[in-house]
């Protein structure tokens, strides 16, 4: 399993798209941090204090993580099926190891990216928030699980990319909309997006940890489908 994870992790780091993604993530984080630094005094008055830097990163993740994750991981499984390299893997390790390995590899990649982004803003914020790191990783894991699931059920990588982009635009819109509407349908959809849990008041901060259930569900579904699939 960890052999698959390590390869996935290495692949994500070496593809041009991921390098671009990392540059964007770090660039926007550092840019946002410099901007926030110029408005340090008014932000302090608003009570945002040093957390404003980490909040900037969180905001970036909330809005752009679905697109980032989808564009990098939409073909995690179906590309291997399309090129038939999956046949080499499936005859050497269990199908569970392939799915779990791919998931762990992606989580590791995003974990490293977010950690480095948070470390980059330490000189500005003068603090490193483990809580922010954990919450960011949980948020990203939702989309990693979802794209892995899509990649398992859709054989065509182009189709999974197209659907992934649609979902990565629709989910933030629906999720954020659900937090401020009385429309029951939209509200119901909101419960299956991470946004509902991340937009709660401070007293309900622990809600964000419920989001971790979704990637587990996505992985279990992917395992169930992948084990029965003809490769």
């Amino acid at each position: 399993m960890f052999t698959v994870s390590f390869k996935e992790f290495k692949n994500l780091f070496t593809s041009i798209r991921s390098i671009l993604m990392i540059v964007v993530l770090f660039g926007v984080t550092v840019g946002a941090a410099s901007l926030v630094r110029q408005f340090e005094a008014p932000l302090q008055k608003l009570g945002l204090g040093d957390d404003a830097y980490a909040m900037g990163l969180m905001l970036l993740l909330i809005l752009a993580a679905p697109l980032f994750v989808t564009s990098l991981s939409h073909n995690t499984i179906n590309k291997e099926m399309d090129t038939r390299t999956i046949r080499f893997l499936a005859t050497k390790t269990s199908r569970n190891n392939i799915i779990l390995g791919k998931f762990i590899g992606s989580i590791l990649f995003w974990g490293v990216c977010i950690t480095v982004a948070l470390l980059l803003i330490v000189p500005f914020s003068k603090s490193f928030s483990i809580l922010n790191l954990v919450q960011s990783i949980i948020f990203v894991s939702y989309f990693i699980g979802l794209t892995l699931f899509l990649s398992t059920i859709i054989s065509n990588p182009s189709l999974s990319m197209f659907l992934g982009i649609i979902i990565s635009i629709a989910l933030p819109v629906l999720g954020l909309w659900s937090t401020g509407t009385d429309n029951l349908f939209v509200k119901a959809i909101g419960y299956v997006t991470p946004y509902f849990y991340y937009m709660q008041e401070e007293a309900y901060d622990y809600y964000v940890y419920f989001v971790a259930v979704f990637p587990i569900l996505f992985i279990l579904l992917s395992l169930f489908i992948f084990r029965k699939r003809d490769l």
């Binding site: 052999t3 046949r87 499936a90």
Partner: protein, 303 residues
């Protein structure tokens, strides 16, 4: 314990039956040849017994393990799939290193280089696979299938698209692997290859096994004609007519020439009779050749 045993193994895609109720039993230590035309169902069969696709019905056991426990014996089987594609950005060495880790092996760098040398990829170990020719990819496919010294090796068309020299090397390698006790399940379009390498052969047609046995058994079962060519001293006219009369009714076709005669017979039992006749008649025989049906002829005669 059999290397592979299948029970009514069937694969259907919609209404189309690709593999139809196959019962097959392959003893350990044999090289088993699986022949069939394109679309006969050979690759589907291999893909089923290696766990890549699910059977629609039936079951199988590999090395005594039921199909549900296939995950636990992956280290004991090696597979060269029919269509070998690799990770373009990796070298042959990196591929084998990755695969050996998946199989939880602990091969050294030298071991990996040795395997690559065995399959004829010496000098190309550190070249990215995207620069490889089809034949080189096939060789890498074989290398990855034997990296863990499996007890049962499935080779789907191991020599297709490979140059003649490499074919000889691969044949030698297959014989070497088999000599170490590995059971080999080989599919091929190359009938000479199967005839040359395999201890037992099954011919598949329209999803089912049409015939199965050793080469000798197949020749006996599907024997059409045996042609005996005899090169002898010049025969007098009287000798020619006596010869003609002696075998009339026994041979299907007799062609008596001045110094060469041909007898087309249906059974091998006539070969010594023909020989004895020439000895009895004191006719010098310089050469006697028996032309039997090749696997190709048997294969082509099957409908």
């Amino acid at each position: 314990m059999e290397a592979l045993q299948t029970h009514q193994l069937t694969k259907k895609y919609g209404k189309k039956t690709v593999v139809d109720s196959i019962d097959l039993c392959i003893p350990q230590g044999t090289i088993f040849g699986f022949l069939g035309k394109n679309g006969a169902g050979k690759s589907t069969f291999i893909n089923m017994v290696t766990g890549l696709i699910q059977p629609s019905s039936g079951s199988y056991e590999i090395l005594g393990h039921p199909q549900k426990r296939l995950d636990s014996i992956q280290k004991e089987i090696g597979v060269l799939p029919d269509y070998s594609t690799f990770y373009d950005d990796l070298t042959a060495f990196s591929h084998l290193n990755y695969f050996q880790k998946l199989l939880k092996q602990s091969l050294s760098k030298q071991d990996i280089l040795h395997i690559l040398k065995q399959v004829g990829l010496e000098g190309a170990e550190y070249i990215k696979v995207k620069k490889y020719s089809f034949g080189m990819k096939k060789k890498l496919g074989i290398a990855q299938s034997i990296i863990h010294q499996p007890k049962l090796l499935f080779l789907d068309e191991p020599t297709s698209g490979v140059d003649a020299n490499a074919v000889l090397n691969i044949h030698a390698l297959i014989k070497q692997i088999a000599a170490q006790g590995t059971t080999i399940f080989l599919t091929s379009h190359n009938l000479n290859e199967v005839e040359k390498l395999c201890d037992e052969i099954a011919i598949m047609n329209k999803g089912g096994i049409q015939t199965q046995g050793t080469m000798k058994q197949l020749q006996e079962q599907h024997q059409q004609d045996i042609v005996i060519h005899i090169h002898h001293r010049p025969l007098y006219e009287q000798e020619q007519s006596e010869l003609q009369n002696s075998f009339k009714g026994l041979a299907e076709k007799i062609q008596i020439g001045d110094t060469t005669s041909e007898f087309t017979v249906q059974t091998k039992k006539l070969i010594p009779q023909v020989n004895k006749y020439f000895v009895r008649q004191d006719i010098d025989v310089f050469r006697l050749e028996v032309e039997e049906a090749s696997l190709e002829e048997i294969f082509l005669n099957l409908k």
